[in-house]
Amino acid sequence: MAKRIDVSGLTAYYGSHKAIEDISMTVEPRSVTAFIGPSGCGKSTFLRTLNRMHEVTPGGRVEGKVLLDDEDLYGTGIDPVSVRREVGMVFQRPNPFPTMSIFDNVAAGLKLNGSYKKSELQDIVEKSLKGANLWNEVKDRLNKPGSGLSGGQQQRLCIARAIAVEPKVLLMDEPCSALDPISTLAIEDLIGELKERFTIVIVTHNMQQAARVSDRTAFFNLAAVGQPGKLIEIDDTERIFSNPSVQATEDYISGRFG
């Protein structure tokens, strides 16, 4: 179910500006990989190339290969829409559809993918909300708007919505940066459970968070403002935080810059 991501020689542009250059890495299935690095180093851009969301931005384009198991996401004839159905995404700010109820929010992706019986939908919605540790808080108000929930609950609703369609990979773009510490803890616990079923990639500015939730950590950096971001190194999280092989990583992690 969960799939391996294999990136080779990936470069992404905004118009003529090169945002990230020549990135190669492998992300193992059923693991959590964290992306850390200073602002503007292209970690979010790189994340968005993994489900072809980068090209949604006007002028956004990508060179290189992203293999999901053996299928190149940027191969000819690959529909970005079907890529995004395989690679789910959770955003920085919780973004449940304001015009939909909690139930409809979770069911939104399912309704795109085909027709389900009502009982099937109910089962999947319940399973997804349970999977996002939100079921007990919302089971009595599934028909209320999702925008009435707290920020942390909204973010877990977004996670429920993303996992309802059973993606192979789950991308998270700073999912806790708009949340308080308690909600953050709830999401981090959830990430630990979700990695049993999904391949998870998370961008975070919080190095303690990266250390807590991830198995592998990738450090991105850029030589100067206006220069493209690059992958400096990727290794086991423990090693990155104790004994990284590149000096810049150690400087960043110990707070000497960035």
């Binding site: 489900n51 969301m53 949604v56 829409v81 079907s82 890529v83 995004r84 159905r85 789910g88 995404m89 955003f91 700010r93 973004n95 449940p96 559809f97 304001p98 015009t99 939909m100 109820s101 939104a108 992706g109 795109l112 993918n113 708007p145 925008s147 009435g148 977004c158 919505r161 993303a162 369609v165």
Partner: protein
């Protein structure tokens, strides 16, 4: 106990603000600029209410003068003979024509306007959307008499084909049967009104669609939505109340449009079951074509019909507000 009487060396008590000073502070209008602006804005608000009340009182008073002498039932009579003794007149034809022509205009204009707005905000490249939006703004600036002349000289002669086609395929419904007369009918009026209200509905809808937060659209995209599905999931629901408001602005114009209708329609005082057969009339058109030659009493009668249009417009606006308010908690406003 009072400290100052016990100890004469105590510092003087801090002066307390007087009641009027406190009141001023609460209004935030202690400085001249604030006071002037407060007066101006409050005055404008009151002036608006006074004008509305004055219109309502004027219409009601003059209308009562006429209706009290009307021998027919003012609401159900389909005749307009204020010169007869006793006078017989009613608004049945006018109400029917006004509502039918506006419905036709809305049915044609709203889908096209929404489609144009979506195209401009979500499909068209920026190089194209600018000029198109400009042309639509120009459309709104054309005076209504010009639309009327264009309608009478270009639209009417060119509609016989469409009318024949509608009669051949939909004539059996009765609504679209055609007796072959000149196409100066309610359907023609509806088409013309649709063109006239298209710019306002398009422009307001475009603004609403432009304000749909990027993050909601990305949420839909990330679930694997196609561009059309993004519009269906995130854009249209978010813009729903705005499109309703836009349509009501358009409907307001369609209900009250005068010159264009008067130029295109060949009016009579019969309720026609078919929208393709010439005849019928609208409130505004009837007032415009009869007012200059009417007697004092005839004018009162026309004003009475104007009062009914006023009430219909109020009801339509109220209904629109009710529709928007009903789903308020689902609107994007609290996201």
């Amino acid at each position: 106990m009072d400290i100052s009487t016990k100890n004469t060396e105590a510092p003087p008590p801090i002066p307390q603000p007087t009641a009027t000073e406190q009141k001023r502070a609460a209004h935030g209008a202690t400085r001249p600029g604030d006071r002037i602006f407060l007066g101006l804005s409050r005055g404008s608000g009151i002036l608006l209410l006074v004008i509305m009340a004055a219109i309502a009182v004027f219409l009601t008073y003059r209308a009562t003068l006429a209706i009290s002498k009307d021998e027919g039932n003012f609401l159900t009579t389909s005749d307009w003979n204020t010169g007869a003794t006793p006078p017989v007149f009613g608004i049945a034809v006018l109400a029917f024509g006004t509502i039918i022509s506006s419905i036709i205009a809305m049915v044609i204009a709203v889908p096209i306007a929404v489609a144009i707005a979506l195209f401009l905000t979500h499909y068209a490249p920026r190089k194209l959307s600018g000029p198109i939006a400009y042309v639509i703004d120009l459309l709104a600036a054309v005076p209504s008499i010009v639309y009327g002349l264009w309608g009478a000289m270009i639209l009417v002669p060119n509609l016989t084909g469409l009318f024949g086609w509608l009669d051949a395929y939909l004539g059996w419904t009765g609504i679209f049967s055609w007796d072959g007369g000149a196409p100066r009918a309610m359907f023609t009026v509806g088409i013309l009104l649709a063109i006239m209200i298209l710019p306002i509905i398009t422009n307001v809808s475009r603004e609403v669609f432009r304000q749909v937060p990027q993050m909601h659209q990305e949420a839909a995209l990330a679930l694997g939505a196609t561009r059309w599905e993004v519009i269906r999931m995130a854009v249209l629901p978010f813009g729903r109340s705005g499109v309703i408001s836009a349509s009501m602005l358009g409907l307001g114009r369609a209900l009250g449009e005068t010159m264009a209708v008067a130029t295109v329609l060949s009016p009579d005082f019969i309720i026609h079951g078919s929208v393709l057969n010439p005849g019928g009339g609208t409130f505004a058109q009837n007032i415009a074509s009869k007012f200059s030659e009417a007697t004092e009493f005839g004018r009162d009668a026309l004003i009475a019909s104007g009062l009914v249009l006023f009430v219909i417009t109020l009801l339509v606006n109220g209904a629109a507000r009710a529709i928007i308010a009903r789903r308020k908690e689902y609107s994007g406003a609290n996201a």
